[in-house]
Symmetry: C2
Subunit: 316 residues, 2 copies
């Protein structure tokens, strides 16, 4: 991709060309200087998309619910992008396939753009790539982007938590396990959806969540709890209303701008940390490194001490 190509891709994406959007998303996923150049061109044309994160345990119905929200937005004539965040591992094949198949109903709709975001092969790569992918869809004129997490690892939760509004999708019976991290859940949830709410235990789960929110003390925004049955489309309008209410809350008194500025601050710091970390390769080379490594291999020096010694300016 040359600079001229990048410019053409950005123009294409802004005009809504699906091929250009897809190629820009691939560029963003692989990263590197060409991706940076394209993003620098895109960035002035972004800032209007509203992002919704959908996260929760596997098998909870996130994809089906996302699919229903997309249908709801399309009924209102709104265009929407969907990013399915999905750190690859040798063992994730089945889940990815299942999720993609479920979204096929929108595959021929030009107003919907669905994309799986796979790992960039290094830790934290996905967390850095996802906001860039949102920007591609933003510049392409999608007023809404839904970020759906496939896995439940730390990275995915972080990514979903970095949306303007984050919906956590649970099921009846959730929270029975002793170690369920309820505090961590409340930190990221702006809206709580109890999906499959017609199953036994639905009412108790709603009550538990309500208590949990009350006990956590007064807050700026108490996450509404919505009961849904995604497979039948039940509660989808309520969920949408809850998301819209949270958006309205953020847009009052400049909270949305403050939240986005805080995210940008975090993003810049993460980018700086990534760039600094990349310098490790240059530090870990040469005669001095070989000497320290030999001492570590001989158990004469521990790895932390070796790392400190390599970074000690007096040792250079």
């Amino acid at each position: 991709v040359t600079a001229a190509d990048a410019a053409a891709l950005v123009d294409g994406a802004r005009a809504g060309d699906r091929g250009a959007i897809a190629r820009l998303l691939s560029l963003v996923e692989s990263g590197g200087p060409e991706a940076d150049a394209a993003l620098s061109r895109l960035f002035p044309h972004t800032g209007t998309t509203y992002t919704v994160g959908m996260t929760g345990p596997p098998g909870g119905g996130k994809s089906t619910l996302t699919d229903r929200l997309v249908a709801r937005l399309r009924r209102d004539g709104e265009e929407v992008g969907v990013l399915a965040v999905d750190p690859t591992s040798p063992f994730t094949g089945g889940a990815i396939l299942g999720d993609r198949v479920r979204m096929q109903g929108h595959a021929t709709d030009a107003g919907v753009f669905i994309r799986s975001m796979a790992s960039r092969g290094h830790l934290g790569g996905l967390a850095l790539a996802t906001p860039q992918a949102v920007r591609v869809l933003d510049a392409a004129g999608k007023p809404w982007v839904i970020i759906e997490t496939v896995g439940v690892g730390q990275v995915e939760v972080e990514v979903a938590g970095a949306a303007d509004t984050t919906a956590v999708v649970l099921n009846p019976g959730w929270g029975d396990a002793v170690q369920a991290n309820k505090a961590g859940l409340l930190e990221i949830a702006d809206v709580l959806a109890v999906n499959k709410a017609d199953r036994p235990g639905g009412d108790e789960t709603v009550r538990d969540l309500r208590n949990m929110i009350e006990w956590s003390g007064p807050r700026d925004w108490a996450p509404p709890i919505v009961e849904t049955v995604a497979t039948e489309g039940r509660g989808v309008d309520d969920l949408w209303d809850a998301i819209a209410a949270h958006r309205a809350h953020l847009e009052r008194d400049g909270r949305l701008a403050t939240r986005r500025a805080a995210r940008l601050r975090d993003e810049i710091e993460a980018l700086v940390a990534e760039r600094l970390g990349r310098r490790a390769g240059a530090v870990c080379t040469g005669a001095r490194f070989d000497e320290l490594l030999a001492r570590v291999a001989a158990h004469d020096l521990d790895p932390h001490a070796a790392a400190d010694a390599l970074l000690d300016p007096r040792g250079q």
Copy 2:
């Protein structure tokens, strides 16, 4: 924890005191200068433990198989440590609980030490903490440490792949999904266990894996494929023999030492990268940072360009 405390803990752990081992593992999990100090004291007493990684898709029976391997080792009079690697997220509660309950059979056996390794709250934290936890058990005199991954994310696979011998546990029917990353699997598997091999499709899965290994071309070590039924204890001795055969292979011609030195090299580089990354906080502060952030928030400068500007020595 003072320096004197750390010394006492290390002495206690070396003498096999379970309380001291547990406290050192907690220290390692939380990280920081005290953990570094304790590890520096531990490190000269390590290097004898042999590590076995157990990884694979969820529900495949890794915990039950690990439990059986522990029993097998105990029959031979060998002591063993088990680290269950488990990046926390708000949604992992159930899985952790189930796994721990299954291992309770060894809870009262003084020759077995079982520990869940949870996240250290930052990406890559677990990958850095796990080798340190192995060192605690190593110094405590456990000749074997089994590293079992609970999740299937990139971090867990990386952690399990960093063992001396990595066993990948699959089930009949694995690999039917189109996207299953077979190349990634072969990169980490030293031994392949097809667990629940009595289920339909077991023979086909074994044949598929055998073909996959043959097609991947000649290699130093072709991972043996073992059929197991962990719940009935079937095939556990074969699995153990395969692990022992891989160990014998590595111990011939100094391959184990080479592999461990390569891991130490990677570990030191990761520690250097982490230390360099931590400097981002200091870079992302002050008037210049605020000015750049304001420009980014106004969409006048993109986040990558801001990060580059912050790291440009001419801009300081």
